[in-house]
């Protein structure tokens, strides 16, 4: 057996097993984390965005179809459901520190959720985007695992939704401080809550790194937004489509 032949055989074997997809996904995320840390946690160097770009570049350059990549990476993807359930813990912790703030929080959540949907869908369709794109924008301010579940239920692409949700989280983490400072928001819990509504998981981890109270309220906002949106978005979507 020639050496070249055996390398091809090893390659065929490896790329057919889940190992390769799992390896490049974890390695890309590890590189992303490393870049994020070495840029002193600059929000522009988001580890998720870096990992997505790296993995997409690798599978495109070796002509690996997305379906064979996903066959391996689905073991990571599966954990999204469990991670969603585990959001119960930050929600519970947030609930116990509510202290009579529930009315402002609920109305803020409803206002933010509606503004998020209608601004995104209307700006996109004004600028000429089709219904497959605008449809995927409905759940974009919801944390990605719940957003993808909503996307499946309203019949739009869960992948596009996940991309928009991740992009929203990154943009929110970058832009939130400017918006909140421009509005003169001083209370940490109010700032955190607004970030959690607008920028879900990625914004929440950013909020935790700035101030613990902001982080707690951001994760409460993210969780409540997820649960309420899972009920409300399919109804709103069918009203307008």
């Amino acid at each position: 057996m020639s050496e070249k032949h055996s390398i091809v055989e090893i390659w065929v074997y490896l790329s057919g097993s889940p190992l390769f997809a799992l390896f490049i996904t974890l390695a890309a995320y590890q590189i992303g984390l490393w870049v994020y840390k070495s840029t002193k946690q600059n929000p522009l160097a988001n580890p998720v965005a870096i990992a997505i770009i790296l993995v997409a570049t690798v599978i495109q350059s070796i002509d690996m179809p997305y379906s064979s990549y996903f066959e391996g990476a689905q073991f990571i993807h599966f954990l999204l459901g469990s991670a969603t359930v585990s959001l119960a813990i930050p929600i519970y912790r947030g609930l116990s520190s509510l202290k009579g703030r529930s009315i402002p929080l609920i109305f803020s959540l409803i206002a933010g959720g509606l503004v998020s949907i209608f601004s995104a869908v209307n700006i996109a369709s004004l600028l000429g985007a089709g219904s497959s794109i605008t449809g995927a924008m409905y759940p974009k301010s919801v944390t990605a695992p719940i957003a993808m579940g909503i996307a499946e239920r309203i019949g739009v692409s869960p992948t596009l939704t996940a991309i928009f949700a991740v992009a929203t989280g990154i943009l929110g983490a970058i832009l939130a401080p400017f918006v909140l400072n421009a509005l003169g928001m001083k209370e940490w819990w109010q700032r955190g809550f607004a970030i959690g509504i607008g920028a879900h998981g990625i914004g929440t981890s950013r909020a935790f790194s700035i101030h613990p109270e902001a982080g707690t309220y951001a994760s409460l906002a993210m969780g409540m937004n997820g649960v309420i949106s899972a009920v409300a978005i399919p109804i709103i979507y069918h009203l307008f489509n």
Partner: protein
């Protein structure tokens, strides 16, 4: 660690079963989440195994989105053709969402504290 995972998977499975047979409009994990919150409210505490697993998940939440989001390769032509609309919609919507949520929460909480 294992005990925490067992609890999470138990609530996830409960959620999936309820979603399949009783409440098909809600995704199973969301139902599992709500049930677990209710359970924690009843128990009035988070046991340490559950806290360990939940903190682990929240620390690496981002990693779990990667497989689905790599599907971006399937949509590259569509995304490029609509790049301007998508970027404007996402940026505009994030600014408006965070701004409006912040204004509402501040307005209503100042009213509450005035009374």
């Amino acid at each position: 660690m294992i005990s925490g995972l067992v609890q999470i998977l138990l609530f996830q499975s409960l959620g999936e079963v309820i979603s399949k047979f009783v409440l098909p409009t809600l995704p199973g994990p969301v139902i599992g989440l709500v049930l677990l919150v209710l359970w924690l409210v009843l128990r009035k505490e988070v046991n340490e195994h559950l806290a360990t697993v939940a903190d682990g998940f929240s620390q690496y939440f981002g990693l779990l989105f990667v497989p689905a989001a790599v599907g971006v390769v399937l949509f590259l032509p569509q995304l490029k053709a609509n790049a301007l609309a998508i970027i404007c919609a996402l940026v505009g919507s994030v600014v408006l969402t965070i701004g409006s949520s912040a204004i509402v929460v501040r307005f209503l909480s100042s009213k509450v504290s005035d009374e």
